[in-house]
Amino acid sequence: MSLSFTSESTASAGPSFGLAGLARRAEAVVLPLGALMAGFAVFSLFLLLQGNSPTDFFALVYRAGFGTAFSWENTLSRAAPLLLAALCVALPARLGLVVIGGEGAIVLGGVAAGFAGAMLFGTPAIIALPVMLLCAMLAGGLWIGAVGALRHYRGVNETIASLLMAYIAIALMNHLVEGPLRDPASLNKPSTAPLEDALRVGNIPGWDVHWGLAFGIIACVLAWVLIDKTTWGFAARIAGGNVRAAQVQGLPVGRLILGFTALGGAFGGMAGFFEVTAVHGSANASLAGGYGYTGILIAFLARHNPLAIVPVAILLAGFEASSGLVQRRMDLPDATVLVLQGFVFMAILMSETLYGRFKVFAPERWRST
């Protein structure tokens, strides 16, 4: 059994031009947007039932998420790890694999980066930072790659395996930062040794947003090129659509599974690298911030299209950025934004059943009334 969440691009045969092409492509934009609006509508009803004003709510979300320069910095800072966490879900998903344990790659990537940084004390940043990044990506890549290997060689369900391995990764991180890798000076909050200032990644000039955002966007673009513009990506999409067909065609399904899961994990590890170098300054339990789980939602909303991940991650980061102001102004619990995310997620999943059902998006059926 292979779950398929591939986008319509698999089905689109060759380049399409003019109105017909536009109509085909519009489906991938209109349906998710429609689902988003439906999610908002149901959530508004929920707010009304609770005696709260949806207008106030969305006005606050806009103000705190996108309304001021600070709001944008807030939103984009939160989006940085989400972009990479979403890639960790989206890449394997193109092969039909539902990997939901990106959190594990993030925390282990963070530990690897923190440990490497502590080992490389005194090394020039130009050498140390790439090494740390490499270690983080290796750690994340091996972890999610192992999920792929379990799936390919032993037939272990990758969804369950990745989720359980995320718990193992968090336990392993706790063991490492409280045991072998602990800085003895970190008394009440066990951590690896603090990175020296030279190894702290700073902000994108002129913005109060760290470099993780730029790397996240670049990673999304690269992943899009890989999937949409290379033969590997094409092979992966075939395998995601129909494993048997791919095998019959002689495509290296096993290597694709290992490669795509490992690459997704490497991006998760990269998120951990930025958490340590740009935010925390050392690896500790705060690395388990839940980005891996929000990444699942983002990847599904973006229908596993790496380019779509960018706006979706920014939108969800904006929701999270507004959570505080909503809490303070409307006296709503912090879970309110999670409820909104939940409604949107349900709407998006239900909208999956609508693809191909609207004739307006299928030019070849326009004349057949």
């Binding site: 103000r63 705190a64 600070f70 939160r78 909050k189 925390h280 300054g281 505080g324 303070r328």
Partner: protein, 371 residues
């Protein structure tokens, strides 16, 4: 000159002067007494019957003050979340005094945000501020180990099995001091009492807290306390197993009214009102503030119905000794539970002794290990 013109001018001048005299100070009053916006940030829910509730009770006391507006946010992670929550309060709520209350908020988050906002005061709950850190940040903390010592006295009188239990989050100095104090308090009653400790590994992990409590009850412990963020699960589970309980962080007596002996509570209401009043009066808060029972930083829950008269007498006597100052719960002759000497006879560590802040041992009589 005519009487009328004099009178009129005089009247106008006079009224102008009076009006001026009346308005200028009023403007001044309004300017310096525009409501002070104070922000509180919690790592968990503010009704957790524990760490966060204790701080939220402090915030509630501040809310009741004149000339103050309080904004609060709960469930804020120790990640970039808290940096942005602080800045959001500064940007959208004009907060000028912030209480980011979780231990992990300080380094690196407060340290990163404070220099960007020199006109905002950041008050953090833990003793982490040192010279050279931003001067608009500060630390405050209380010697709550003394509260666990008093808990121990109540527990020492209540236990029949001479075994008491402790559910602990992590083996870090603050927690170890609480465990050791709890046992040493109990041993003031009966030196044969032992205390079994179980570490859950997390500050908030309800399932493991329940398992640990049940395991302690299974092992024969009949008085149980804890140091986790939200003691609710431990209190209810222990009371359900017919154990007595001693509270921590906040007052948990509503959860187990018959079984609750007493509890070591933070008294943030007093501390926060004092700090806010200082700011309202235009004064400055010291960067490093600490206090114990005597300073009103901590308090004990009212003694429960199960506390005997003998227990009450010893509890009150010891409390008075602590209030008098210089009391040492950790004092010689004392060994750790691996047999190493901690303090020679006559040696002791008073509550404000800096050596207690790097505690890495469990004293003799505590069953458990720090690693």
């Amino acid at each position: 000159m005519s009487f009328s013109s004099l009178s009129r001018r005089g009247f106008l001048k006079g009224t102008a002067a009076i009006a001026g005299a009346a308005t200028i100070p009023q403007l001044g009053y309004a300017a310096s007494h525009a409501p002070l916006s104070v922000g509180f940030i919690y790592v968990g829910p503010k009704d957790d019957f524990g760490y966060n509730q204790a701080h939220a009770e402090g915030a509630a006391a501040v809310k009741a003050m004149e000339g103050v507006v309080v904004v609060e946010e709960e469930n804020v992670a120790e990640t970039i979340d808290v940096q942005k929550s602080m800045e959001s309060m500064i940007n959208f709520d004009e907060a000028r005094l912030l209480f980011p209350t979780s231990f992990g908020y300080f380094d690196p988050h407060v340290l990163k945000v404070a220099p960007k906002h020199p006109d905002v005061r950041f008050q953090h709950a833990a003793g982490l501020w040192t010279d050279g850190m931003p001067t608009n940040a500060g630390s405050y903390f209380g010697y709550i180990g003394m509260g666990q010592y008093l808990n121990g006295i109540a527990a020492g009188h209540a236990t029949k099995t001479k075994k008491i239990g402790f559910v602990a989050a992590k083996p870090i100095p603050q927690v170890l001091l609480n465990i050791n104090s709890f046992l040493l308090g109990a041993r003031q009653v009966d030196p044969e009492i032992t205390c079994q400790v179980i570490f859950t590994g997390e500050w908030s992990l309800a399932v493991k807290e329940a398992e640990a409590t049940n395991a302690l009850a299974d092992a024969g412990c009949d008085v149980i306390t804890c140091h986790v963020d939200g003691p609710k699960v431990v209190m209810e589970t222990a009371a359900g197993r017919d154990c007595f309980v001693c509270g921590y962080h906040a007052n948990q007596s509503p959860l187990a009214p018959e079984k609750y002996l007493t509890g070591a509570e933070w008294n943030w209401a007093g501390v926060y009102s004092g700090m806010v009043q200082t700011v309202l009066d235009g004064g400055s808060i010291d960067n490093f503030v600490r206090g114990g029972l005597a300073d009103g930083f901590i308090k004990m829950s009212p003694l429960g119905p199960a506390v005997s008269d003998a227990a009450r007498a010893q509890f009150e006597a010891t409390k008075a000794e602590i209030m008098a100052g210089g009391f040492a719960a950790i004092k010689g002759p004392l060994k750790d539970n691996a047999g190493n000497v901690i303090a020679a006879d006559g040696e002791g560590f008073a509550e404000d002794d800096i050596a207690l802040e790097s505690m890495d041992y469990l004293v003799e009589g505590v069953i458990g290990s720090t690693s």
